[in-house]
Structures are given as C-alpha cells and as structure tokens.
C-alpha cells in the first residue's frame, strides 16, 4: 500500500492568508466593474484599505494612464474587463496614480474570472515596476547618447568622402591628401568610440575576465612609461616616473587591465594639458596601513572645476573645460577606468584644482588582484 504524506489543504481562511502573503497586488473585479477583492499588497500600492475598496467602482481606485512624450492619457480599463478568455493578458509601461497622488509604473497581468462557464469579471495581478522603468530609461538614454556620439564622426566621414568624391580637379594634391587624413582620423575616432562602448557593455554585464600574474610593479611601470613616451612626444609633454623609495614586493596583477587604466589616465593627463608646458608624473607606493599599492598620475593641466567633480566618473560626462580644449572625446574613459578598478577590488579617487592640474590615484589590494573567470576581455 502506498503511504501518502499528510499535506495541507486550504480552506477559505487559508486562501485569505495566501492572498495576503502574495508579493504582487491582487485585485478582483466583477462584471459590473466593482472591486470584489483587493489583497494587502494591492492596498499598499494603491494606498487604500482593502475593506474600503471592496464594492467601489474600479475606476475610483485603479486610475491607469499611458505616458508618452510627457503627456498623460487615461488607459482604458476596458482592457482589463473585456478580456479574451483564451489567453493571459500582460501590459507594461502602464502608470497608476494611487489615492495619495503618486504616479508609478506598473506591470499588469489579467485573466478572466470564469464562473459556471461564463465571464464574471477579471483577476488582475499588478506590481510596482519603478526599478524596471529606471533600467529601461538608463538603456534608452544610453542609446540616445551613443547614437548622438556616433553621428559626429560618421557625419565627418561622410563629408570628407563627399568632398573627395565630388572633386572635379579643384583640390590641390595637398588638399586631397589632407582630406584623406581627416577621413582617416574620423574613422579612427569612430573605432575608438565603438570599442569604448563595447567595453562599457562588457563591464556592465559584469563578466570581465581577470587573469593576474605575479608582477613587479616598478618594472611594470618602467615598461608602461617606455610605451607611453611616443605619445608624450606627440603632446610635447614631459613624462616622468617617480620611483618608490623602497623596492615593492611583486604581487598578482592583470597587466592588461592595469596598463589599460594607466594608459587612459596618462593620455587624459596629456590631452588636457595642451597649450601648457605639460608635465605628467607617474608614481607608485605601498600603503601598508591601507593594505594597498597606490598608482598615481599627476599633471599640471586644466584641472576639474568644483562643480564638475561629482560627475567626473559618470557615463558620457565631459566637463566644459575638457570639451572646449578637445572636442573629440566620448566621456566614457573615466567611467570605464572606474569600472575596471572596482572589478579588481581597488578604488579610484582624485584631487584637482581648476587651472592648476589633477592627480588621479588607483589602488590595488597589496595581496594583489583576485583572478576572475569572466568571459569578456576588453578592447584597447
């Protein structure tokens, strides 16, 4: 004989407990469009006591809207009442105004209430979708800003190509060469921008691969400085490596990631020093009290205005003085740098005075970077 374990059977009181325990709002509406039931979560979201809601017309309690281009239009409740009973109905991007006037996005799901084979109203599940709406907005903002950023080099490419293409012999050989170079600069700018955007999406996906190997930080920095020297020359910049007073113990470092961060910081230091006697100093020291190694890039460039300091690591942010000096820039560099540093367990900070220069510091735990089996590597 098969033994059956005792199981819970639900009576009417237990069903109330189930309704009350649900994480979503539950609303039952009858065929005359009056509320037949509302659970506690629903009451909290709509700011109405469930007992008071029961019997009230749904239109009084459940005020729904669509919002398009900042314009609010009522969302017809007929959508919830006149249901096709062969399927579940789900709606996103519907807004609800609750009893205290708060407007928030909802995700709604409705099914017909069937009794004795006929439709007697509807069962409506709903939840606050504020977080999802925020993510959606961030995504669409990214697409809007990204497409704006991409259009500038694309337009430049188009214009220079057109000028070369439609030349009927007016251009001198030197002008032709110059336009070809400008076309190439536009393409390179575009490639850089696309790579930066790809890096952002890889980092935001949280799947960055970190492969540390025991590395002598001082030898590593000497190498980096050597690689940066041609760029320093281009910018007529004096690049110096300030060696630490004591040798540093080798620690696990992902050389690709650290060099990407340092390249970015040093290039920024040089780019935003143009027109001055540019000096950039790179240093590294052990901070035993904080159990970190700190790498520092200091410059005597244009600095960061106090008003811009809070936003300097924000995605796509470019300070006015930086844009004025270098129109070309995505506003993604420092955002990417911060994400990389935080991924390896470090921190990034800066000190700066407008017109006097900036110093950016990044830390690595003195035990080294922790390996991470991510799937993504970054483009340079």
């Amino acid at each position: 004989m098969v033994s059956r374990k005792k199981h819970m059977t639900l009576g009417p009181d237990d069903l109330n407990a189930v309704f009350s325990s649900m994480a979503e709002g539950l609303l039952v509406v009858d065929a005359s469009r009056n509320i037949a039931a509302l659970n506690q979560v629903g009451g909290i979201l709509l700011r109405v006591a469930p007992v008071q809601a029961v019997g009230a017309p749904i239109a009084d309690i459940f005020k729904l809207y669509r919002i398009e281009q900042n314009k609010r239009t009522p969302w017809p409740l007929d959508n919830l009442i006149k249901l096709d009973f062969t399927r579940v109905h789900i709606w996103d991007h519907v807004y609800c105004e609750n009893k205290v006037g708060k407007l928030f996005p909802l995700t709604l799901m409705a099914t017909p209430l069937l009794k004795a084979g006929s439709m007697n109203g509807a069962v409506i599940l709903f939840r606050d979708a504020t977080d999802e709406a925020r993510v959606d907005l961030a995504k669409s903002d990214f697409v809007a800003v990204a497409s704006h950023q991409l259009q500038t080099p694309l337009t430049a490419m188009k214009l220079f190509a057109e000028m070369l293409d439609q030349d009927t012999g007016d251009l001198t050989a030197q002008q032709r060469k110059e336009y070809q170079q400008l076309l190439r600069s536009s393409v390179e700018r575009m490639i850089k921008l696309v790579n930066e955007m790809l890096n952002v999406s890889r980092l935001e996906a949280g799947a960055l691969r970190i492969q540390p190997q025991t590395t002598d930080p001082v030898a590593f920095l000497r190498q980096i400085i050597k690689e940066l020297e041609p760029i320093a020359k281009e910018h007529a910049c004096a690049l110096a490596f300030v060696e630490p007073p004591k040798p540093l113990r080798p620690i696990p470092i992902d050389a690709n990631l650290l060099s990407q961060v340092l390249f970015n910081l040093v290039e920024n230091a040089m780019r935003y020093s143009t027109g001055r006697a540019c000096r950039v100093a790179v240093s590294c020291e052990n901070k035993p009290a904080d159990r970190t190694y700190v790498f520092r890039v200091a410059d005597n460039g244009i600095g960061i205005a106090n008003a811009d300091k809070k936003r300097i690591f924000s995605k796509f942010f470019r300070a006015d003085n930086a844009r004025k000096l270098q129109s070309n820039g995505s506003g993604l560099g420092l955002y990417v740098v911060k994400m990389i540093v935080e991924a390896w367990g470090g921190q990034i900070w800066f000190t700066s005075r407008e017109g006097a220069g900036s110093a950016f510091s990044v830390s690595i735990p003195s035990r080294g970077m922790k390996a991470r089996k991510g799937t993504k590597q970054l483009s340079k």
Partner: protein, 131 residues
C-alpha cells in the same frame, strides 16, 4: 571668385568645423568660426554676419542659449538668419529651435555638403529679397 556672403559657423567639433568651413568657402562664402556659443556671441558683438550656422550641443554655451540671447538683442541682430545644424533629431528639439527663431533645422547626418550649402544659399537669397 566673388564673395557670396559672410557666414558665422558655430561648431565645437574640430573635424566637422573644418569640413563645413572648407565646403562653404569653396562655394564662395567668407567663413568665421566659433567653437561654442560664448565665442560666437563675442564675435557677434564685433561683426554682423549675413547668416549663422549654429550647432546645438556645445560646451560653455549651447545653441539654444545663443538663440534665446539673439531674440533679446535688437532688431538688427534678430534679422540675421540662423540655420541650425545639429545631430539632435527629436521633434521637440526642432520645434524649440524654430520657436526661438531658427529659419531652418538641418540634421547633420541626413544632409550632404551640397544640400547644406544649397539650403544656406536659399536662406541668404530670401533674406536679401525681403530687405
């Protein structure tokens, strides 16, 4: 070649500024350039161009602010036609620029150099005929 008119080109991107400047000069216009709205206004205090080509997204002072300030100036400056040349393609941006007095709104990626020049020359002609 005879100068067709003086144009103030306000564009912060160095590559685009170079391209539009060369294109306009080749078409016979004399071109002054500014890299942001504040620089443009400084030039406008000294010189009155026949037409302004104005970008919108710029550092220091953006194109909408320039349009707003031009509205507040005397009638002589308000009569300078402004052609907006921007990557912004939202209807609300077009409507805002138009309401602030821009005579035309060209979306950069959608117009070739030839088309930009032809629109500019049309507005210069119309402004001259109205005078």
């Amino acid at each position: 070649m005879q100068i067709q008119g003086t144009i103030l080109l306000v564009e912060d991107d160095d590559l685009l500024s170079r391209a539009y400047r060369d294109g306009l000069e080749k078409a016979g216009y004399s071109v002054m350039t500014a890299t942001d709205g504040a620089e443009a206004e400084k030039i406008l205090q000294e010189v009155k161009p026949d037409l302004i080509v104005l970008d919108l997204v710029m550092p220091v002072k953006n194109g909408f602010d320039v349009l707003e300030d031009m509205q507040k100036r005397n009638a002589e400056y308000r009569s300078v036609p402004v052609v907006v040349l921007s990557v912004l393609a939202e209807r609300s941006d077009v409507e805002r620029a138009r309401s602030l007095g821009a005579v035309d709104y060209l979306i950069k990626s959608q117009f070739s150099m030839e088309e930009v020049i032809s629109r500019i020359s049309y507005h210069l002609r119309t402004t001259r005929e109205e005078k």
